[in-house]
Amino acid sequence: MLPTDLTVQENRAHGRAERVVNDFSIQVATVNGSGSQTANMVLLRSILLMGVPVSGKNMFPSNIAGLPTWYTIRASTRGYIGRKKEVDFLVAMNPETAKEDVLTLDPGAAVVYDEPLKLNALRTDLVFYPVPFDKLVGPVCPDAKLRRLVRNMIYDGVLAKLLGIDMALMEKALSRQFGKKGKAVALNQGALKAGWDYAEAKLAKQDPFAIEPMNETAGKILIEGNAAAAIGCMMAGVTVVAWYPITPSSSLCESLIGYMKKYRVDKATGKATFAIVQAEDEIASLGMVIGASWAGARAMTATSGPGISLMSEFSGLAYYAETPAVIFDVQRVGPSTGLPTRTAQGDLLTIAFLSHGDTKHIMIMPSSVEECYTMAQEAFDLAEQFQTPVFVMLDLDLGMNNWMSSAFTYPTTPINRGKRLNAETLKTLGEWGRYKDVDGDGIPYRSVPGDGMPAYFTRGSGHNAKAQYSERPNDYVENVDRLARKFETARAFVPKPAIDLRAGADIGLLGFGTSHWAITESRDQLREETDVSTSYYRLRAYPFTDDLATFIDAHDRIYVIEQNRDAQLLQLMRLDLSPDRQKKLRSVLHYDGLPLDARTVTDSVLAQEGFEVAKKDTERVSRSGMTGGE
């Protein structure tokens, strides 16, 4: 047995004396559509306001109301904001799942539960706090119709008392949530207080968990990746947006609509400096984006896997006819409808070569909400610079969960509109050909309708450097070779990886996107628990940059960590790497629909390194079956 498991067990012994301060996870089990999201956000934000690093993850069903939902809040003194598998503190509000929720807890965990559920009879190694929610909600909410919504706020009050969260901060978080809706604030404040009062009068603190003020979150924000990307798009000066609703990408366009209405309407005329269209499907969404980009606008769409599949033909057109397009893929679990409300990194291979023929696309891969914001802006620059589609690869975990982050900084660099023909360039070029490579970088000059420059005929059929229809073998080869050259040029311009080299490390970890949070925490675990030192390469774009080979050369074994079944990133890397380098690659795969956690990475790496790893699984995978729906 590894030292890790010993410590874990010690920590978990029932009735342990030592306090656990600011380092535990709370899980709230409810049904969706019950308004619990507000209560959860208030709890999350109040911990942030206490100065404690925190993150929130929603595990929800593909259904509008009435199915089980779990919301997990993690406080971490060391600032780990990835997922943690173990639940330390459970709030059991859903009769349907309560029993299983309690049975899967580790010994020593605490449970706040709805009193009539009588969960305390289930186990003797947990701390139970019964709360009669229905009795408490009556007096604070006379309107019976609203009770169901207000009821959840009571557990916030109970937790505030039990964990020591400042009530003033909780009230502050509450008014944040409701904004100017004074009546709703008052009603919920009443419920908060009822919870607090009840806990004070009736519940004796027996668990070790506590929130104490820290100073780690000054100026920090809480935001979902989709909203962060939306702000980035607005700052990038997007003017045309076409989209078709699909979880988990809808909230990107929906928050964009909100921000644009507020900040992008001309004061003087009341007219919009943007057009946002809900298209009839994803094919039309991308068609509109291509048409708009072709006509010179900064245009984008956002979708998820099923939409990406539909965009295939148009992606190839944009690649071959060379029109910019920015496409956000907020990845969810496939294939087909898959698990629409669960996270994955499974679209990598599809997108790299989306469409028929020799097609290759640029992908950029944010890990954090901050990168959602900055990379949204980079995406438009790259799309216009390279006159090609750029895919921004988010996932449900990043897009739809709330992440703590530093505030975003205002963009100071000018935007890159790419090689556009104007009177000056036309003069220096002499004879202009739309697809002529004059600079050797594969990127031609383009004109757009209405700019007063010479026009050309855009087509997805074979064309020569002057954009004339051509079926000549040489014209075809020259053109696609130039496109390959253009893709090569992109290597030097896409976001560079974040590399942390550790002297003497034999092992390199390599991952992208939301895996980052599990990987950084896992590196600490590996070092502290087993003295295994690792370097880390956080990939941020495709095509790969040259330092990938250098990183591989500097290590004996590379663990490619990704959230899909088929090791898609590893396969993609293989295409670029020599056989010697390929041999060094190993896989850490995670694809059950839940965000990757550090322990999974650590265990997998250690097992492959020949350590003996005790399997201790508190996964909720078995439950996904219960939360079906379309």
């Binding site: 048409g291 708009a292 205002y410």
Partner: protein, 340 residues
């Protein structure tokens, strides 16, 4: 006629495109010629025009007119979305889309439907030959019941009447014509250029190679025999000071968005193209008789188009400078504060 210039001083050659590669005698070529005439006579600056199309013989034709305008030959059946995007980016452009009956009625029917609903300001032309020319003559969804292919195959599915569909869906200018009727087609095209909103123009355009034989209902001979004009169309552009005299009750006068005038001289009974229900009824009746009602089937000259509904600034969105599309520091700071 050489040397004759239009109101902006351009000669007809300025409106030509590259040499056609379609079959000699293909109806699509005649339509391209009328498009050249219409743009020339209306004195439209070619650089303000964007030509869009899907895939098919018909969709190739934008290369054969207005060579100095930008063109986009997109993918099969999806021209409406590309055209929509282009107009969102720059609402000052004049957009003309060329499609085929397969490109529209089959693979593209979804985008067609939504284009019509939006009343986007575009001239959408279906070059309708009742078959797939480019893939060698299979039936298309506009093939009439009982029409026969060269191979002997008879169509036994009811046709989609794109005009009826367009009226039903909200297009504000719906017409049908025949590539062989120079005068009517030209008048309709000029009127189309004066309209603001979606113009849906179904032009029966025989495919001489695959669908011009006896037994086909889209052959030159059949269409000539079964053309049932709704009215005699004449068009007077706003910049021409011509007054048209007509006896009261014989002609319907429609004032277009730009002030141009459309005179629809009534034939036999009084057809009213501003009456939606009458228009649909008439389409059904002529179809039952195995005939084609041609002319302006329906017109609604003053409904808001899609771009007006979106309430965007007057300048093209594509050309707005950075300072108008990137909110200031205060905006970002305000957003950040709301997230703390």
């Amino acid at each position: 006629m050489a040397g004759k210039t239009n109101r902006i001083g351009l000669e007809a050659v300025s409106y030509r495109g590259s040499k056609t590669t379609l079959c000699a005698g293909c109806g699509h070529n005649a339509i391209s010629e009328r498009i050249v005439d219409a743009f020339f006579e209306m004195g439209i600056e070619p650089s303000r025009v964007v030509k869009l199309s899907g895939i098919g013989c018909s969709s190739k034709s934008p290369a054969y007119f207005l060579g100095s305008a930008h063109g986009f030959n997109a993918v099969h059946g999806r021209m409406p979305s590309v055209g929509t995007g282009a107009l969102l980016a720059n609402g000052t452009l004049i957009a003309i889309g060329i499609s085929g009956d397969g490109d529209t009625g089959a693979i593209g029917i979804g985008q067609f439907v939504h284009l019509m609903r939006r009343n986007l300001p575009i001239i959408y032309i279906i070059e309708d030959n009742g078959c797939y020319g480019l893939t060698k003559g299979q039936f298309s969804p506009t093939a009439d019941l009982g029409s026969r292919l060269k191979t002997g195959v008879v169509n036994d599915l009811p046709p989609i009447d794109t005009c009826a569909l367009a009226i039903e869906l909200g297009a504000t200018f719906v017409a049908r014509s025949f590539s062989g009727d120079k005068k009517q087609l030209l008048a309709i095209l000029k009127a189309a250029l004066a309209h603001r909103g979606t113009v849906m123009l179904d032009v029966i355009s025989p495919c001489v190679t695959f669908n011009d034989h006896e037994g086909s209902t889209k052959s030159y001979a059949y269409v000539k025999d079964h053309d049932d004009p709704l009215e005699e169309v004449s068009f007077v552009p706003f910049f021409e000071d011509i007054s048209v005299d007509y006896a009261p009750g014989t002609t319907q006068e429609v004032t277009m968005h730009d002030g141009s005038k459309l005179y629809l001289k009534k034939l036999e009974d009084g057809y009213d193209p501003t009456d939606k229900i009458a228009a649909l009824k008439r389409l059904h009746e002529t179809q039952r008789r195995g005939e084609f009602a041609t002319g302006i089937v329906y017109i609604e000259p003053d409904r808001d188009d899609f771009l007006e509904q979106l309430n965007t600034v007057d300048e093209p969105l594509a050309f707005l400078p950075l300072e108008r599309v990137r909110p200031g520091r205060e905006a970002l700071e305000e957003i950040m504060e709301s997230l703390r």
